[in-house]
C-alpha cells in the first residue's frame, strides 16, 4: 500500500458511544444509520415481494383459496397493488440507495468524519421507520389498507366512503407518506450540506466520485419534490376529514351527493406527478452513480467522459421536473400541452443515452473483472436500456393513449425504475459489503443469485410488453374469464412461474448476506483495488471514519491503468499524478 497523505487531526463532533442503545439503536454515526436504512429497506422489499407473489397467483388462479389469506376479493387485489407500489417506491427504492448506501458512504467518499448534522440524521431514519410502521398498520385497521393505487388518484382517495380500505386505512397511508416526506427532507438537508461544506482538502467538486454526484443531485430532487407531495397530502387529508373540496368535484356515491363540489381531481394529478416523476430519478440516479463507479473499477479504466457523466446527471435531474405531464396524457389535456411534455420527455433520452454510451465506452477494451458486483452493474446497464427504450414509445401521446392502461406500462417502469434500481442496490451490496462488515460475500452464491435475478426479471417483465400490446388492461384482478384475452393466459402463467423462480433466487441472496456477515472470508482494506477514499481506511471504518485523520485528496476518482504508475490504480489520496486524459 502506498502512503496516503493525511491532514492534521480533526476533533470529531461526537465521541464513540459505548452502550448498545446509543451505538446501534439511537446512533448518531452515519454508518450505523446507513445500515439501519438498509435493513429497513430489506424488510420492506420482502413485504412488497410477498404482495407481488400473491397478486401473480391471483391473476392466474383468481378463484384459488390461498393458505392463511383465503379468497382474494377484487378489492383485496387492489389493496395489494396499492401497498406493493407504495412500499416498493418509498421504503425500498428511495430508502436503500439513498438512505442506506448514501448515508454510509457519502461522508467517507468525500473524506468527512460524519454528516453535517448527526442528530438530524438519526431523526431522519427514525421518522422514516415510523412512516413504515404507520404504513404497515394500515393493513390491520378496520377496512384494511387502501385500494387507490400508489398514485392515490382523487376522488377515489379523497372520499372515506369510496370503498373498503378508504376509511382509516387510507388516512394512515397519507399520514405515513407525509411522515416519510419529512424524514426524506431531513436526510436531503444533510446530504446537501455535507457535500457542499465538508469535503476533505483537495476534494473538488470535479474530483467527487460519481456516486457522490448522484446522491447529491438526488438529494436536491428530494428537497424540491417531497415538499410538493407533502402539500398534496395535507390537502387530501383535509378533503377526507374536514369536508373541503380541493380535489373532489360534485360526485355521488350510491346515488347520494357527497357534499363536496368544485374540486379538481386533475389538481391532485398535477401535484402528485410534480413529485412523482422526479421520484423516478430519486430511485434510479443513485443506482446510476453506483453503476458508473463499479464499471470503472472492474474494467480497470477511468470512467469514459467523467464531465459528461456529471452534466448528464444534472441534466436528468433538471429535466425530471419538466415532464410530469406525460403521466397525464389520458386526462384530456390540450394536445399542445401534451406535445410540449412529449418533447421534453424525449429530451431526457439525450443525457440518458450519453450515460449509456459512456458506460459502454468504459467497458470497451477494458480488462474486465467479472466479479459479482460487476455482473450486477452490467445487468443494470442492460435493464436500463431495455426499460428505457420503451420510454420514447410512451412519451408520445398518441401511443400512450393506446398503451397507458395496459401491461405495457408496468413492464416499462418495472424494468427501468424497479429492477434496474434493485440491481444497483445488489451491485452496491456486493461491492461495499467487505467495507461494511469486514468479510467477503460468497462469490458462487452471488453468481447464482445474479443469473436467477437477471434471467428471472427479464422472463417476468419482457412478456408484459406483449400483454400490453395485445390489449390486456392492468389493475384488473380477474381477466381469466374474458374471452378475447383467453389466448394470453399461458403468457400470464409463464410470468407467474418466472416470479416464483426469481423470488426463490432472492433467498440465495438473503442466505449469502447473513451467512457472510459471520462466516465470510475476511476482507482486506481494499479487496477490489479501488481508488476512492473509503478504501483507504480500516475495514470496517472506525467511528470517525479515518481514525483521527482526514485524508488530503490529490487525484480524481477513477485513475486506473495510469501509464508509468507502479500499479494499475492510483488512489485519490496518493501523491498527485499527471492526468493523462
Amino acid at each position: 500500500m502506498a502512503t496516503h497523505e493525511f491532514a492534521a487531526q480533526e476533533s470529531h463532533a461526537h465521541a464513540a458511544p459505548q452502550g448498545f442503545i446509543r451505538k446501534w439503536v439511537f446512533s448518531l454515526d452515519h454508518k450505523v444509520i446507513g445500515l439501519q436504512y438498509y435493513f429497513l429497506a430489506l424488510v420492506a422489499v420482502f413485504v412488497g415481494m410477498f404482495l407481488s407473489l400473491v397478486m401473480r397467483i391471483h391473476l392466474v388462479a383468481p378463484t384459488a383459496t390461498l393458505p392463511l389469506l383465503g379468497d382474494i376479493k377484487p378489492e383485496t387485489y387492489l389493496t395489494m397493488v396499492t401497498m406493493h407500489g407504495t412500499i416498493m417506491v418509498f421504503f425500498v427504492l428511495t430508502t436503500a440507495p439513498q438512505g442506506g448506501f448514501g448515508n454510509y458512504f457519502l461522508p467517507i467518499q468525500i473524506g468527512a468524519p460524519d454528516m453535517a448534522f448527526p442528530v438530524l440524521n438519526m431523526l431522519s431514519f427514525w421518522t422514516t421507520f415510523l412512516g413504515f410502521i404507520v404504513m404497515i398498520a394500515a393493513f390491520f385497521v378496520a377496512g384494511g389498507a387502501p385500494l387507490h393505487g400508489w398514485t392515490g388518484y382523487a376522488p377515489l382517495s379523497a372520499l372515506q366512503s369510496s370503498g373498503p380500505g378508504e376509511g382509516l386505512g387510507a388516512d394512515l397511508w397519507i399520514i405515513s407518506i407525509a411522515i416519510f416526506c419529512i424524514g426524506a427532507l431531513m436526510g436531503a438537508l444533510n446530504f446537501i450540506t455535507t457535500t457542499l461544506d465538508m469535503r476533505a482538502k483537495g476534494m473538488t467538486m470535479m474530483r467527487m466520485p460519481l456516486t457522490v454526484w448522484a446522491w447529491f443531485v438526488t438529494a436536491i430532487l428530494g428537497l424540491l419534490a417531497f415538499g410538493v407531495l407533502l402539500s398534496a397530502g395535507i390537502l387530501l387529508l383535509m378533503d377526507r376529514n374536514l369536508g373541503t373540496s380541493f380535489f373532489v368535484p360534485l360526485v355521488t356515491i350510491n346515488g347520494q351527493l357527497t357534499g363536496h363540489k368544485g374540486g379538481s381531481p386533475l389538481l391532485w394529478q398535477h401535484l402528485f406527478w410534480f413529485f412523482g416523476h422526479p421520484e423516478v430519478y430519486i430511485a434510479i440516479l443513485p443506482a446510476m452513480g453506483m453503476c458508473s463507479q463499479l464499471l470503472s473499477v472492474f474494467s480497470r479504466k477511468p470512467i469514459f467522459g467523467y464531465k459528461a457523466m456529471v452534466y448528464a446527471i444534472l441534466a436528468i435531474g433538471f429535466l425530471g421536473f419538466m415532464v410530469w405531464g406525460h403521466h397525464m396524457f389520458m386526462s384530456g389535456m390540450s394536445p399542445y400541452t401534451a406535445f410540449a411534455f412529449s418533447i421534453m420527455t424525449m429530451g431526457i433520452g439525450v443525457p440518458s443515452a450519453i450515460k449509456t454510451f459512456n458506460w459502454l465506452g468504459t467497458l470497451m477494451r477494458g480488462r474486465i473483472r467479472f466479479t459479482s458486483p460487476m455482473l450486477f452493474a452490467i445487468g443494470f446497464v442492460s435493464l436500463f436500456v431495455s426499460g428505457g427504450i420503451s420510454g420514447p414509445f410512451l412519451a408520445q401521446p398518441v401511443l400512450d393513449i393506446q398503451l397507458h392502461d395496459t401491461y405495457f406500462v408496468p413492464a416499462h417502469f418495472h424494468l427501468i425504475m424497479g429492477v434496474a434500481s434493485i440491481f444497483g442496490i445488489f451491485a452496491a451490496t456486493y461491492y461495499w459489503f467487505p467495507k461494511m462488515f469486514g468479510r467477503m460475500m460468497n462469490e458462487s452464491m452471488a453468481r447464482w443469485h445474479f443469473w436467477f435475478s437477471f434471467i428471472g426479471t427479464y422472463a417476468i417483465f419482457m412478456p408484459m410488453h406483449y400483454l400490453g400490446m395485445a390489449g390486456m388492461p392492468r389493475r384488473y384482478s380477474q381477466l381469466t374469464e374474458v374471452t378475447y384475452l383467453h389466448g394470453l393466459i399461458p403468457l400470464q402463467k409463464f410470468i407467474t412461474y418466472a416470479a416464483f423462480v426469481t423470488i426463490a433466487g432472492q433467498l440465495i441472496f438473503l442466505v449469502n448476506l447473513f451467512w457472510s456477515m459471520f462466516k465470510g472470508k475476511r476482507a482486506s482494506d481494499n479487496p477490489w483495488e479501488a481508488t476512492t477514499l473509503e478504501w483507504t481506511t480500516a475495514t470496517p471504518p472506525p467511528h470517525d471514519n479515518f481514525g483521527g485523520h482526514t485524508p488530503i485528496v490529490h487525484n480524481g476518482p477513477y485513475e486506473y491503468s495510469v501509464p508509468g504508475a507502479p500499479r494499475d490504480y492510483v488512489m485519490q489520496s496518493d501523491p498527485q499524478i499527471e492526468p493523462a486524459h
Binding site: 491532514a7 492534521a8 480533526e10 476533533s11 463532533a13 468525500i110 473524506g111 453535517a116 448534522f117 427532507l185 436531503a188 438537508l189 446537501i192 450540506t193 457542499l196 461544506d197 465538508m198 469535503r199 476533505a200 482538502k201 483537495g202 476534494m203 473538488t204 467538486m205 470535479m206 474530483r207 428537497l223 424540491l224 419534490a225 417531497f226 415538499g227 410538493v228 407533502l230 402539500s231 398534496a232 395535507i234 390537502l235 383535509m238 374536514l242 369536508g243 373541503t244 373540496s245 380541493f246 368535484p249 360534485l250 351527493l257 363540489k261 368544485g262 374540486g263 379538481s264 389538481l267 398535477h270 401535484l271 410534480f274 482526514t550 485528496v553
Partner: protein, 218 residues
C-alpha cells in the same frame, strides 16, 4: 477544476456558523416549495367552474372571504418581533465575536446583560399566534368555516400551515433560551440565535406574502 474542497480545519465558530446557515438555507427550500404548491392550487382552484346541481349549469363558486382586520395588527406584531429578533441576533453575535477575540472558543463568556431582545421576540411571536387564533374565531363567527367555501378553505390552510411553521421558530427560541440557561458557550448560543433569526425573518416575509395573496388575489 471546480472550487477546492473546504478542507477539514477545526470546527471553529466561523465553520459552524457557515454550516448552520447553509443547512437553514437548504431547509427553507422545501418550506418554500410547500407554499409554492399551495399557491398553485389556490390559483387553479380560483379559476375552476363548478357544476350547480340545481341548475345543471357551470358556475363560479369562489366567494372572497372578508379578512378580519385583526390580521393587520398581527402583521404589525410579527414585523416588530422580526426587528427584535434581528437586534437579538446582533447582540449575541457581538458577544460571540468579543468572546472569540478575548478567549478560547467554547468558553462561556457569561455576559448576558443588555435588553432581553430574545425574550421580547418570543412574547411577540406567541402574541402573533394567539392573534391568528383570534382571527380564526372571528372568521368562524362570521360564518366562514374551513369547508364553507373554497376561499375560506385556503384561508385556514395558509394561515394554519404558516402558524405551524412559526411554532417551529418559537421552539427554536425556547432552545436558544435553554442553551442560555444551561450556560452553553456564547458561540453555540450565537449560532442557535443566528439561524433562528433568519428563519424568523423568513417566516415574517412569508406571512406578508400570504396576506397579500389572500387580500389581493382573493
Amino acid at each position: 477544476m471546480g472550487d477546492d474542497g473546504a478542507g477539514p480545519g477545526l470546527p471553529d465558530y466561523a465553520t459552524r456558523l457557515r454550516r448552520a446557515r447553509l443547512g437553514l438555507l437548504v431547509a427553507l427550500t422545501p418550506v418554500l416549495m410547500l407554499f409554492v404548491s399551495f399557491t398553485s392550487a389556490y390559483v387553479v382552484r380560483q379559476g375552476l367552474p363548478t357544476l350547480d346541481p340545481r341548475t345543471n349549469a357551470l358556475v363560479r363558486d369562489w366567494i372572497p372571504v372578508a379578512l378580519p382586520k385583526l390580521l393587520l395588527i398581527n402583521t404589525g406584531v410579527l414585523i416588530l418581533s422580526s426587528v427584535f429578533m434581528e437586534l437579538a441576533r446582533r447582540q449575541i453575535k457581538g458577544q460571540a465575536t468579543h468572546a472569540s477575540a478575548t478567549s478560547a472558543p467554547g468558553v462561556s463568556a457569561g455576559d448576558q446583560s443588555g435588553i432581553p431582545w430574545l425574550s421580547m421576540t418570543l412574547v411577540l411571536g406567541l402574541a402573533f399566534l394567539f392573534g391568528q387564533w383570534a382571527a380564526w374565531r372571528q372568521l368562524a363567527a362570521n360564518g366562514f368555516y374551513v369547508a364553507t367555501t373554497p376561499s375560506s378553505s385556503f384561508v385556514y390552510l395558509l394561515t394554519g400551515t404558516h402558524a405551524v411553521h412559526l411554532m417551529g421558530g418559537v421552539l427554536a427560541l425556547f432552545v436558544a433560551g435553554i442553551a442560555s440557561l444551561l450556560r452553553r458557550s456564547v458561540a453555540t448560543r450565537s449560532i442557535v440565535v443566528d439561524v433562528s433569526a433568519w428563519y424568523w425573518h423568513f417566516m415574517a416575509a412569508l406571512w406578508i406574502y400570504i396576506l397579500c395573496l389572500l387580500e389581493f388575489a382573493g
